[in-house]
Every structure is written in structure tokens, then in C-alpha cells.
Amino acid sequence: MFTLINLVQPDTVEEAYRVLTEKKSNAILGGCAFLKMGSKRIDTGIELSKLNLNYIKEDDSHIEIGAYTTFRDLEKSPILNYYFNGVIPKSVADIIGVQFRSIVTLGASVYSKYGFSDLIPTLLTLNCEVELFKGGRIPLEEFLKSAYEKDILTKIFLKKNHRIAVYKNLRNSKSDYSILNVSVSNIDSKYIIAVGARPAVAKIAKKASEYLNHGNINEDTLEKASNIAAEELDFGDNMRGSAEYRKAMCCVLVKRALKEVLECR
């Protein structure tokens, strides 16, 4: 159980950032589901309800999602069910249960760069951008690779277009974390392949994606692309699976995802 000495509920992001960086042991309070499993000692907890970051909205060019949006809201959003083959709702729908998804927030999940995340690979293939208070608006891929620095993730952006994406995962029990998960997107024959729960955090299989972007699409090339993805990424062992198994499953899931995304035209 974590300890908390003070609490603030700032009216602006600036104020939130100021308090956050004032002391090393100050922290943002997100969904708190994971926080309560640890024993972090927080001096001042910063609660962001007043910033109204719980929204999903669209304008002409982008979909914007606030960091305090829950997974349940992502799941039910008409906007997200409409665009991108409804891949975002599909990628979060199986996570534990409706009550859990009403607690877990987009911002906390993305900011924490969880390896087991079902959402991150999907956001990667949608070319997601994150907005950080200090770091500014940067591609999610860049954020995932960056070194840890205290910041506040306030929202994410998805470009509105006719991109199609699919999400696939392999789990033992349906309420378990994924052994491996995959997302593939296609827009105008440009593919992005991302693999997560490796068990490390999701990564784009650049070589595999590039291979497809420059050639024909047929059974052989799909097979080859999935093999390239399995070779270029690295996998590890954990309680849920071995590296060897994950690598083999990467081939299978990427190939299936590619086939599915092609059928979605």
C-alpha cells in the first residue's frame, strides 16, 4: 500500500507540473490500481480531476483523447468504434472486466510504458502522438524510447484518416496478461507492424514493415514479413512464456494480423 502525506488538486497543468517537480517523491495520481499494489512513499500526490482531461473529441484532422479517459470510455466511444476498424476498443475490451476498465486511465497506462499493455501496440500502429507538458508533442514511438524524465502526459492525438488496423493477442486464461500481442495497420498500402508483451514494451518491427511497403503482397511475402519481424525484435522469458515461444508466436500473430488487415479493405 502506498503512503501519501499531502494532496493537491491543481487547476492548471502548469501548477501540476510545478508541484510534481518540486520534490522527487511527488507523483501524479492516475488510476491508482497499480499504485496501491506497491509501497511507494509519495510526499504530495497530484490529482488531476480539475483539469478535465477525461474526454474523447475530434476535429477536422485529429482525434484527441485526454489522459484521464478510462479504458471503459475508450471501449464505448462512438468515435473510436468508427475509426480505424474500431481497433482501440477491440484492444482494451478483454482487459479484466468493465469495473477495472472504469478505473484504469489512458494516461497512466501509456506513461508507465507497461510491457504487458494491450493498448500501446495499437497506438503505435496508428502513429499516435503524445503530448507532454514539458516534452511537448512527440510521436509515441519516440516517447517509448526516451529516457525517464518526470513529466505530465496530458493527451494523445490520432490522425483522422482511413487507416485500417487490427489487434491480435495470445493469452492463456482470457483474463490474463498477453503472452504476446500484435497490432498491424495499413493505409494506402503502407504497413506498420507493432509487437508487444515481448515481455518488454511494444516496438515497431521496422524492417518487416518496410519490407512490405516496397513489394508485392502475397502469401509468401506476408510469411517473409512475419519472419523478419520475429528476427528483428527481441523476446524474453517470464512466467507466462519463453523467448522461444514468443518468437514463434510473433511469426504466427503478425502473419494473421496482416491477413486480417488486408481483408478489411
Partner: protein
């Protein structure tokens, strides 16, 4: 029958469904001290110093106990009838700690925050010993887990503790090696079953207080109130008559609460402080500091003759009982008892092996209790034998399984009193469409479906040992009170025992009040384990009610001044035969208690059986495997059950469905795992996956009732047998689908994939 055989709703159903405060934690008084336990971070160590001085000074801390503050008499926490077949190898707090999580200090404070604050200030130094984790390396390991001199057993269970052996067993009939040589076909296979967690929804908790007469009252989420009373008496060295144990509604047990994990801590704190105290284990402690199913390695050899009769059966086992031996010998014993008699055309049978200590959380009682592990191995071997003989797996069973009226080598002088197992197999085959689907159906290039089967037996109570008493009283207002010690853990025993009473007394459920599981009020009962409640306690209830009925007739005869033979009992009245004269039960009751009768009528009985009539299940599984990933779905499970007469069809069905799903968990998802330092990695529902709703597709339950002559209304039991068939049936289905024989549970996609690739 009017009441027995009907799906009567549970008498506590509405209260517990709508969240009424009837569980242990809901009943505790507000000022009870909160107890927390400081636990060992090491798997095997000796406490060289422990300093609680700073912790004791914190305001609100009532007492802190270490190994120096507890009685030095060893005891067992096992819920077994006295004399327990369990080593007395425990102390309340021991200077030696034997698994990560073993108790080091008991802290009692006014609230949780203070107790946890104090815990941090306790300074402990340890001398670390080399731990033993691998049960296959435990025997004669240079690290001896119980080297203390004062470990003792009530009688010989084959303990050789200096070799880390808690129990050693050997049963043989005929000459197995000779018989195997004579067999035309022999199969051999080694199986591993994993440790499984109970994962009951209500974690372990208990509270204590001293009552107005200076007695220690224990309110606990327990399956074994009478054993707890005796255990506390031995451990705390106070008379049992000074202890009262009460079980309120409890949130599941499955055998976990057949080991008294927590009562000892609240008891000692309340005794020392004079104040009420409560302990509530969180989920992490429940997973890692109580008990789990024994992990077992089993080598099975089966030999058959030319006609396909199984003539020799040899099971050699090694069981991991962890740090303490509560259920070491009995789980292992049951493994043999519930496998050896099933196939009774044998000329020679043998069950042998050792139960070893290791530095892990102890093995305990978990539904199935050894029969589960044995069934996985035996049925796997029978399926393997069927294939080698080119026989249909159902045929080899129909040919070799014991039938009603037959005996077996293990029970030579006892005939099987009831069985419809053969009919269960036929029914199950029909329900799953065995002939069309066996062994597999290819769906397309990648997906294939396979079916498999397994059978099992359990027991009903422990023959010659389990004894239960019941009392039924006719109250002044003409209604009845039924007093029993049986512990309803949600199974509905309060309800079905009332059904039995209502049937005998020819009255309604509403006219009988059942009071259970309070050692001050209830007559003795072992508690709910060994599938004894319906059969043993049920028979006691039946006999007590018949005793009361007899007394009602005798006393009615007196009051009506007619011979007893001229009377008939009609439920609401006693009537003179061939006449209109009668006396109502209400009037009789009033007369007996308040009027001229001067004899409040009570019926009582004590029952124990010389046999443990087995319930049987035939289980059939259908899986659909994705050949590219090894992932499979269990698309269909059929369980056909013989539990004798079904007392309450809805509740019996629920037992089967619930047990099958626990069995599916053991087959496919659940696995208690430790890291290389002995820390339990699977200490939460996040890491330990019990089946969730989406994992369960279709379970079909059917009953083929037999009639057990020694059981109440012909009933046997159903509580444990239900968990045994899924693992072997699913393993068989997987084998038939893709030719992969997974002999180590759980059956995971990766295991299938890796084996397929080979």
C-alpha cells in the same frame, strides 16, 4: 419423497446473496485489536536475535510475541480426527523458519496502521541455511528441514525426518513385478501434478474474545470448529472446555480451512491481553502463507493380458508436503486408496512412495485430496494402454472397472454397495457424441478438435474414523430445532440436512430451525471435509430424527392411553389407527414441555460408517486446438455423476459445475510457482489465474443415481469427486487431437506447441 430430492433454495441464500453482514469480519466488535504477522524473508533460517523493544514502545501497540513468548509443546494444525495421522511439527512461533512467509512475530495493535508501523521497527537477524526447493532432491539432502528432537507422531506414519521424509507408505497385494512380467502389454508413464491454490473468495480470518465466564471464544472462517478447539487446547495448554469455536457464514474453503491457519494467533493474543482481537489475511498471505495442493510425481505402470484385462497396477509416488506435514500422510494415502480399487480385474496392485519436506509453503487439504493427483496419472496411463491395445478408451474401462456388488484387492471383504459408473460412461458418450467424434475431427488446415475421457472415484467420509452426532429437539411451540456440528461453507449442508430431517419428521423446512457449527451448542462433527457431511452427518440426522419420531409415538401413546402399535405418525399429528382421535404435534409438544408429560423430547444419534462408499464420475472433454499456436479452447465438458440419491438437484448440480471448473483451472491455467529463492511468484489473482467467466464455454452435468444402502436416503457424496476428471480428460483430448501427450500440469499452449514441434 416430499422434501429430499427437491431443489429447495438454500435457507441462507437470500441473506448471503444480498450482502447481509453474516461473515466473520462483519461480526467482530469495534474495539478488537488488529493482528499482523511479521514473516520470514528467507526460506530456511534460524532467528539469531529478535528485538521488539522499539516496536513495543509505539503508542497503540498492545503486545508483540516472538518465539520466546509461546508454549514449547509441538502440535499440528491439521483438521483431522484425533489421534491425527499428522506429525506434531509446529510451534505457534518457532526459532527456525522453514519457508518464505513463515511466522516470526505476532503484533497486536489498536489499528492496522499502528501494527504495520510497529512491524517495521522489529529487528531480526537470521542465520541462513541452505534451503531445499526441489522435492526430487529432498530425500537425504544435507539440509534437514526438521532436525528438532521433539517432533512426534501419534502413530507410525513412516516418518524418517532426518531424511526429510514426513511419511513413507507401501501397500501391495499380490506380486506386482511378477504379474507385470506375465502381461502381454505393459505401459509406463511418469506424471507431474502441480501445487494448486484454493483461491476461495473469503480469505482466512478469525477473531477471539473472552466471554462473561472467562472462556475463550473463537469466531472463525473455518471448516473444522471441533478440531480447532482441540488444537488450541493443545497448543495453548488450556482445557478444551474453556474454548468455544463458532463458525458463521463463510466464503468458501475447498479444504484450505481444514488447516487452522490463523486461529492460533488471535487466541494467543486474546489470552495474553484479555482483549478481543482479529486477524484477516490478505490475498497475498492467503496464497503464500497457508497451504496448497500437494505437488506429486507419479510413475504408473499398467499391465494387461491379451483380452485387454488390466492385471497389474503399480503406482510409485513422491509428494511434496512443504515445510510442515499436516496432511502429508493422509493425502498420499488417499491417492492410493482412490486409484487402486477402480480397476478390479487386477491380480496384483501396488502403491508406494514417500512424502517429503521441502522449504516451501506446506501442502494441505484441497478438494480431491490426493485422488485428484492419482486420477490424472492413472487415467492417463489407462488411456495410453487403450491406445496400445487398439481398444476404444471407453471399452477398456467398461471392461475393467469395478461394478456394484464386486470387490477389489484393496477391499477384499467388502462389496461395492452402489455404482452406476458404467451407465455414467454410456450416458457421457452419448451426450458428447463419442462415436462420431473419437478421436478427432479436422476442421481445416489449422484447427482440429479432439475428445478425451477419464473416470474417477472418491469416498464418502473416512471409514471407521469419521463420526458425527446430531440432535433434534421438539420445542414447546411444536416446531423443531436441529443441532449439528457440520460446517456449511456455502455448499448448503445446513439446507440439505434440514431437508432430510423434514422428510423423516414429515414436516416443512420452515418448521425446522438448524443450528450448526458452534462447539458449545452443536454435537460433535468432524467438519466439512472428506466428503463426509451428506453421508456421515446425514445418517446421524436421519437416525436422530427417527429416534425423536419413536419418542413422539411412545409419549403420544402415554398421553392417549393406547398401545404404541395402534398409532401412526402423520407429520403434523399422531393418529390412532382406524379412529378419528389424534393429538397434534403442537399439542403434544406443549404437553411434554409444559404440561403433564414433563419430558421435553430430544432425538439424538451418533453415526460413523465402516465403509466409505465411493461416488463416481465419468468426464468427457472436447477441445479445439489451434495447431499453429498450441492454444486450445475447451469447447465442451460433460460430467456424468453417480453420487447415490441426489438430495437437492440444484445444489448437487452446482457442486459438479463448480468442481469441474476448478478441475479445468488445474488442467489449463493454475500453477503455484516459486522463484529460485523460494518466494512465491503467484501470490495474487493477477499472477495466479483461476478460470474467468470467458474461459468456460459449455459444461453439461447429468446424474445417474444409484442407491447406496448405507447412506441417508441412498446418498453418497459429491463434494470432492467433481474436481478429478478434467485434467486427465483434457490431456486425453489434446493427445487425440494433435498427438501430444502432456504429462505435466497445467496443459499450456506453449507445452503443446513445443511438443508438437518436436
Amino acid at each position: 419423497m416430499k422434501v429430499v430430492g427437491k431443489s429447495i433454495p438454500k435457507i441462507d441464500g437470500m441473506a448471503i446473496a444480498t450482502g447481509k453482514p453474516v461473515y466473520t469480519e462483519d461480526l467482530v466488535m469495534k474495539n478488537a485489536l488488529i493482528i499482523k504477522i511479521l514473516r520470514s524473508p528467507y526460506a530456511f533460517a534460524k532467528i539469531t536475535s529478535i528485538d521488539v523493544s522499539k516496536a513495543e514502545q509505539i503508542e497503540g501497540v498492545e503486545c508483540i510475541l516472538t518465539y520466546k513468548d509461546v508454549p514449547q509443546a509441538r502440535f499440528t494444525l491439521a483438521g483431522q480426527s484425533y489421534p491425527e495421522p499428522s506429525p506434531y511439527d509446529r510451534l505457534i512461533l518457532d526459532q527456525i523458519v522453514r519457508y518464505v512467509g513463515d511466522e516470526v512475530a505476532i503484533i497486536a495493535a489498536v489499528d492496522e496502521k499502528t501494527a504495520l508501523k510497529a512491524m517495521k521497527l522489529i529487528k531480526v537477524t537470521y542465520e541462513i541455511f541452505e534451503p531445499v526447493f526441489d522435492f526430487e532432491k529432498a530425500i537425504e539432502n544435507k539440509s534437514v528441514i526438521h532436525s528438532e528432537e521433539d517432533v512426534h507422531c501419534n502413530f507410525d506414519i513412516g516418518m524418517k525426518k532426518d531424511k526429510n521424509i514426513a511419511s513413507s507408505q507401501y501397500i501391495e497385494f499380490g506380486d506386482v513385478e511378477e504379474e507385470l512380467k506375465k502381461c502381454d502389454t505393459v505401459v509406463e508413464e511418469t506424471y507431474y501434478t502441480q501445487a494448486q491454490a484454493h483461491a476461495m473468495m473469503e480469505t482466512y480470518r478469525a477473531f477471539n474474545y473472552i466471554d462473561h465466564a472467562g472462556r475463550l471464544v473463537v469466531v472463525s472462517s473455518t471448516q473444522i470448529p471441533f478440531h480447532v478447539r482441540r488444537m488450541l487446547s493443545i497448543a495453548l495448554q488450556i482445557p478444551a472446555s474453556k474454548i468455544r469455536v463458532i463458525k458463521p457464514r463463510i466464503g468458501g474453503g475447498f479444504g484450505g480451512k481444514q488447516t487452522a491457519a490463523v486461529e492460533i494467533f488471535t487466541a494467543i493474543v486474546t489470552l495474553k491481553t484479555g482483549k478481543p482481537s482479529i486477524i484477516v489475511y490478505d490475498r497475498k498471505e492467503t496464497f503464500s502463507c497457508t497451504t496448497s495442493r500437494h505437488a506429486v510425481k507419479l510413475k504408473v505402470r499398467l499391465g494387461a493380458d491379451k483380452e485387454g484385462f488390466i492385471r497389474a497396477l503399480d503406482i510409485q509416488g513422491l509428494s511434496d508436503t512443504g515445510a510442515y506435514g499436516e496432511h502429508a500422510s493422509t493425502v498420499f494415502g488417499v491417492l492410493g486408496q482412490k486409484t487402486l480399487p477402480l480397476y478390479n480385474k487386477t491380480n496384483a496392485i501396488r502403491f508406494m512412495g514417500d512424502v517429503v519436506y521441502t522449504n516451501k509453503m506446506p501442502g494441505g487439504a484441497l478438494r480431491g485430496y490426493g485422488a485428484t493427483q492419482g486420477t490424472f496419472a492413472l487415467e492417463g496411463a489407462v488411456n495410453k494402454l487403450a491406445e496400445k491395445l487398439n481398444m476404444d478408451p471407453s471399452e477398456i474401462r467398461l471392461k475393467n472397472l469395478i461394478k456394484e456388488g464386486e470387490n477389489s484387492l484393496l477391499h477384499y471383504d467388502k462389496m461395492l454397495g452402489s455404482s452406476t459408473l458404467h451407465k455414467c460412461i454410456e450416458t457421457g458418450k452419448r451426450l458428447i457424441n463419442w462415436d462420431e467424434k473419437y478421436p478427432k475431427v479436422e476442421l481445416d488446415d489449422n484447427k482440429v478438435r479432439g475428445i478425451g475421457m477419464a473416470v474417477t472415484m472418491q469416498g464418502s467420509g473416512i471409514a471407521g474414523i469419521d463420526t458425527a452426532s446430531a440432535e433434534v429437539r421438539l420445542n414447546d411451540t411444536g416446531d423443531y430445532t436441529l443441532l449439528i456440528g457440520a460446517t456449511d461453507m456455502g455448499t448448503g449442508s445446513d439446507t440439505i440436512l434440514t431437508q432430510m430431517a423434514a422428510e423423516i419428521l414429515e414436516t416443512t423446512m420452515e418448521n425446522i430451525t438448524v443450528i450448526s457449527a458452534d462447539t458449545d451448542v452443536s454435537p460433535y462433527d468432524p467438519g466439512s471435509y472428506a466428503s463426509s457431511t451428506t453421508y456421515v452427518t446425514g445418517m446421524a440426522v436421519v437416525k436422530a430424527c427417527e429416534d425423536l419420531k419413536k419418542k413422539i409415538l411412545e409419549n403420544s401413546a402415554r398421553l392417549l392411553d393406547v398401545p404404541k402399535e395402534n398409532l401412526e405418525f402423520l407429520g403434523d399429528k399422531v393418529k390412532i389407527l382406524n379412529k378419528d382421535d389424534s393429538i397434534s404435534i403442537i399439542k403434544l409438544a406443549s404437553q411434554m414441555v409444559l404440561g403433564t408429560g414433563k419430558n421435553q423430547l430430544v432425538g439424538n444419534a451418533t453415526y460413523g460408517s465402516e465403509v466409505s462408499p465411493p461416488p463416481f464420475i465419468a468426464g468427457f472433454a472436447e477441445v479445439e486446438i489451434d495447431k499453429e499456436t498450441g492454444k486450445f479452447e475447451l469447447i465442451n465438458y460433460i460430467a456424468v455423476t453417480d453420487c447415490g440419491t441426489v438430495i437437492n438437484p440444484n445444489l448437487a448440480r452446482m457442486q459438479v459445475e463448480g468442481g469441474i471448473v476448478q478441475g479445468i483451472g488445474m488442467a489449463m491455467y493454475e500453477d503455484v510457482r516459486y522463484d529460485f529463492k523460494g518466494n512465491m511468484q503467484t501470490n495474487s489473482f493477477m499472477q495466479y489465474k483461476i478460470p474467468c467467466r470467458k474461459d468456460i464455454k459449455n459444461i453439461t452435468v447429468a446424474f445417474e443415481e444409484s442407491y447406496e444402502p448405507t447412506g441417508p436416503f441412498g446418498a453418497k457424496s459429491v463434494g470432492e469427486v467433481v474436481v478429478n476428471t478434467p485434467s486427465p480428460a483434457i490431456a486425453h483430448a489434446v493427445y487425440n487431437a494433435v498427438g501430444v501427450n502432456v504429462t505435466k500440469l497445467p496443459i499450456t499452449p506453449e507445452k503443446i506447441f513445443i511438443k508438437m514441434r518436436k
